[in-house]
Symmetry: C2
Subunit: 225 residues, 2 copies
Amino acid sequence: MSRNPNVPDSPAVAADVVIFTVREGALSVLLVERAWEPFTGDWALPGGFVKPGERSVDAATRILEEKAGVRDVFVEQLYTFDEPSRDPRGPVVSITYYALVPWDSALVRETDATWAPKFFPAEALPKLAFDHRDIVRYAGERLRAKLGYANIAYSLLPREFTMTELRATYEAILGRPLDKRNFQKKYLDLGLLKATGKTRQQGRQRPARLYTFKSRKPIELARAF
Amino acid sequence: MSRNPNVPDSPAVAADVVIFTVREGALSVLLVERAWEPFTGDWALPGGFVKPGERSVDAATRILEEKAGVRDVFVEQLYTFDEPSRDPRGPVVSITYYALVPWDSALVRETDATWAPKFFPAEALPKLAFDHRDIVRYAGERLRAKLGYANIAYSLLPREFTMTELRATYEAILGRPLDKRNFQKKYLDLGLLKATGKTRQQGRQRPARLYTFKSRKPIELARAF
DNA sequence: ACAAAAGTGTTAGGCATACACCCATGG
DNA sequence: CCATGGGTGTATGCCTAACACTTTTGT
């Protein structure tokens, strides 16, 4: 496949992924510590160059599996950052994605290019490399907005969960408390959940009913939250 | 500025722009007829390669000025299309934008690479090159959604306009009629408009009051339509 | 019996929607 | 005086938001 001769010298193309989870009531982001220049020792989003012939979404999916050890989670393209000076080594266009992973299934792993992948609360991020702070901020805005009209929370929760866990997930992302009764009423009315009939006991209190999502695919709603 | 030696062979990076206007009650898209292979004679979105050191948004702005003859209009990044097979010549990543231009100020011009730039109603597009039909469809969805929570209509209207013209713009984009009284009440309550005190007579009827937008910058609203 | 979280309904206010007639002007 | 589009208010229903007590279980 020959390249058009009129194409200008192309920038490098990378994919970076904002991997969100909700852990201990806090929306958190997976970061890796950079092993090399530039920004050695700073934290950065997991990412990498898009391989020849590869789609950026496949690169993002590959990164999710390598760094977070998860498959079949919600992933969506976020924005493309292409400020020429964003990487001191030269022009790198970053096609960014965000993903939602259930905390219980995330398995963070080290790789040779980066150390110590680790989830940080979105409200307490360390110093970030490149323009990654902008990317995380933008991903948070998109996530909060999208939560209002899509069922993407399915990708943050285990297969079975209690209504309290579901509500806590929404509260963590939106950053405000939600009324217990109103939340349950609206959510059940949406018809996305199925009661398993089972219950789970968390401590020495009354056991909570367990629910599952009827479908684990993205669905757009008429605006619920 | 040296390039990182580990970067894979990079795809070309282009910017394509979906330029919308509302003309004769129909949401319309600016297309150009392709002068060269591939897809010679098909219609395509105005676009071009991003020059070295240039940001894609600047490329989009440049294309807007070259092809539509407008400046200072609403432009927003839409999505990045990077399917490796989308261009038969080889991998081309297209960072797409959409823009809104007032019909009265658009000045379409020919260039050497394309002929006969022309607005087509979004509901009656000709055969499009590459994956440009997908791009236009996606841009339409984004525009309709965004119209519900932002004031972007300012970029489709002339400086002074009547309430009927404003409403007709919304109706053309949303594809459904809006109640005259409810629309006016809601829109005036938003506080974005200023009555000029002037009127304009369209035919032999009662003259219509003219309004302007207080601000011609994008503002996000609490969801109005 | 006590502690802790689960589970459950009602009310009031605000917002969206539906709807019809008079006004100003030119011909 | 007629034709044409401009301009204006009210009533209804729905959805959202606020709010507190009882139930189940383990200790």
